[in-house]
């Protein structure tokens, strides 16, 4: 019980912080919040997001004291890698984030991630499943080069089946062509 409360106390402000951030930043921030929800084993969800939101204001100026994966200021908070149409090439601007995750995985042998590959809705569904896998594998490859080991990484492709953004224009498509990095253990 006490432990749960403690976890909630640590997590709540961070949920709130990233929650606030999503208002400003469009893309993947939503997804990150969702990831937190599952990792916290639901302990914070019962507490309600409202209380979390008020806690944020009080702590906004304080230095971050939680787990590095929960620090919204850290590059490790960037967990969605975006792609061009029909491409699995990693863009220059995403390399730093991948490197940070690789280093984290390298230093934390017990940590493990799932890389979920996704595509936009254009073209055929089965080809897109293969394309999503290729994207996840491209991120995996880079993580391995930079310090992670194979047993820490799982990949899965959902192709175009689970879009992050609903819409049928380039704006939505860009958000959907992605690999999501989710920590199973940290």
């Amino acid at each position: 019980m006490n432990y749960k409360l403690l976890v909630a106390a640590v997590l709540l402000p961070t949920v709130a912080l990233t929650g606030c951030e999503t208002l400003g930043v469009q893309d993947g921030a939503d997804v990150v919040v969702e990831d937190r929800g599952t990792q916290a084993d639901g302990s914070q969800s019962a507490g309600g997001e409202d209380t979390g939101a008020t806690a944020t204001g009080a702590q906004a100026g304080a230095a971050f004291k939680g787990h590095p994966l929960d620090n919204p200021q850290s590059i490790l908070s960037s967990r969605v890698i975006y792609f061009e149409f029909d491409s699995a090439s990693i863009r220059a601007e995403d390399r730093a984030a991948i490197q940070a995750h690789a280093e984290y995985l390298g230093k934390n042998a017990g940590a493990a991630v799932v890389l979920e590959g996704h595509t936009d809705e254009r073209g055929s569904r089965e080809y897109n499943i293969a394309l999503g896998e290729r994207r996840a594998k491209a991120v995996r490859q880079l993580l391995l080069f930079q310090g992670a080991v194979a047993s820490q990484i799982q990949t899965v492709s959902y192709g175009e089946e689970t879009p992050a953004a609903i819409g049928h224009d380039e704006d939505a498509w860009q958000q959907n062509r992605r690999v999501e990095i989710t920590y199973r253990t940290r």
Binding site: D86, G123, S124, E126, Y127, I129, A130, S157, Y158, E161
Partner: protein, 447 residues
């Protein structure tokens, strides 16, 4: 933010629930089909309501309206509206051909239904060529009340075949996937459904909170292979359509996707990436043995069999962009190097052979639009059949007359169908949610 509007959301939810319940009782067809463009010169035919003088218990559906709908939907016929009928004969003896010629009817269908027992009936019908004043065919069939719709489709099939020379495909089914997003939770729910070819009798045969993909009919129309993500990774299943019994077929590391039955029903061609890269394999159903068909660092996927089982066409990006390739098979081993089939457009994928083996329909991407195109593999000409921008998953009617496909309309996933010559267009809509990945069943002998 979500909390604040909870009340509104709930009210909306209840309203939707109520309207759902209402529509569920009012509407028989969950999938409604409309002709959006017909053919000039559709053949005029008059179908006279069948006599029911010898029927005590009315049939659950009206045979003639089902037949009229079938014929009109094909785009090949223009049935005369019932109110315009100039006479109501029930057999050849009372037909005055001269009168029907005056109203420009080419064909006339008349008949009568007799009740033989509690649920047993017999229908007897005659099809006439009005200009020759001759009977084309006259048949009688026994049927039970529960098979009324199937009986009507069977009559439509006979009329269609006698007048066009091509088998009818009215007595068939369509499998498709729907995705519904719950208003309250924003969670998606996926259904694998089947419906009759006219949209009636929609049944959900699988319900999952994770994506369902790639339904493919067995050649006898009794089973569906598909991909399910229920284990949070893609696995291939085979399900008995009528008993609901199902079996997991593959669960390899990586992709398990794009299953398609061989024409003899003994194999599934599929895509697996267990080697680290998506390759085509044959899976023998009886022995569960795998044979690898492709070995190439590119993506190879979306196999389709030629109707005689001698060739496989598949999508590969070995040339840089996805294009269709063809490989010959001999005793289920590759017998030729893959040969590229498509050269027009920057993206050609998800090929599917026509039942006569002369055409391949595909998703054709050109200048940012994805449309359904058909390649004539005898003359090597490509014809783009649709005018939209997000078309996918083409599937042939088993008589080759129409191609059903998924597209997007008003920001919803809908199904549409187009005739192979591009002249007839239909739209198939579900009440709610997105519908996708249509697969037209084979012709079956079952009534």
């Amino acid at each position: 933010m979500m909390r604040a509007s909870n009340k509104k959301v709930f009210t909306l939810f209840y309203l939707m629930l109520i309207s759902l319940l209402m529509t569920a009782t009012q509407v028989h067809a969950a999938l409604t089909i409309q002709i959006t463009t017909g053919v000039d010169g559709a053949q005029p035919i008059a179908v006279v309501p069948f006599s029911t003088d010898q029927v005590k218990t009315a049939l659950p559906y009206d045979l003639v309206s089902i037949i009229n709908n079938d014929l009109a939907r094909s785009g090949r016929f223009a049935p005369m509206p019932e109110k315009d009928l100039i006479a109501r004969p029930h057999d050849g003896g009372t037909v005055r051909f001269g009168d029907w010629r005056l109203v420009n009817m080419d064909y006339l269908l008349v008949g009568r239904v007799r009740q033989l027992g509690d649920v047993n009936y017999e229908v007897q019908f005659q099809l006439f060529d009005v200009f020759k004043g001759e009977q084309i065919t006259g048949i009688s069939y026994p049927f039970v009340a529960g098979d009324t719709r199937r009986m009507a489709h069977r009559i439509s099939d006979i009329v269609y075949e006698k007048l066009t020379g091509q088998k009818g495909a009215f007595n068939t089914r369509i499998a498709y996937v729907t995705a519904l997003t719950a208003v309250t939770t924003n969670k998606r729910q996926y259904h694998l459904n089947i419906a009759d070819s006219d949209g009636f009798n929609e049944q959900t045969i699988l319900d999952s909170s994770k994506p369902l993909m790639s339904p493919s009919w067995s050649p006898d129309g009794q089973q569906l292979a598909y991909v399910s993500f229920e284990a949070k990774r893609p696995q291939i299943f085979v399900q008995q359509v009528f008993s609901g019994q199902r079996q997991r077929v593959t669960d390899f590391k990586g992709l398990n996707s794009a299953p398609v039955w061989s024409p003899d029903g003994k194999y599934l061609a599929m895509t697996l990436s267990k080697s680290g890269n998506p390759e085509l394999y044959l899976f023998e159903i009886a022995t569960r043995q795998l044979t690898q068909l492709t070995r190439h660092p590119a993506v190879d996927t979306e196999p389709t069999w030629s109707p005689d089982g001698s060739k496989l066409v598949f999508t590969s990006d070995r040339g840089g962009k996805p294009q269709l390739y063809m490989m010959r098979l001999s005793r289920n081993k590759p017998a030729s190097r893959p040969r590229r089939l498509t050269f027009e457009g920057e993206y050609n994928a998800r090929g599917v052979f026509s039942p006569d083996g002369k055409h391949i329909a595909m998703v054709h991407g050109n200048r940012g639009r994805f449309q359904i195109a058909v390649l004539d593999i005898v003359n090597n000409t490509l014809q783009v059949l649709t005018d939209s921008r997000l078309d996918e998953s083409p599937s042939f009617a088993p008589n080759g007359s129409m191609i059903i496909y998924a597209t997007n309309r008003d920001n919803r996933g809908v199904l549409a169908a187009v005739s192979v010559d591009g002249r007839v267009h239909q739209r198939l809509e579900v009440q709610q949610g997105d519908v996708r990945e249509p697969a037209w069943s084979p012709l079956t002998n079952a009534q």
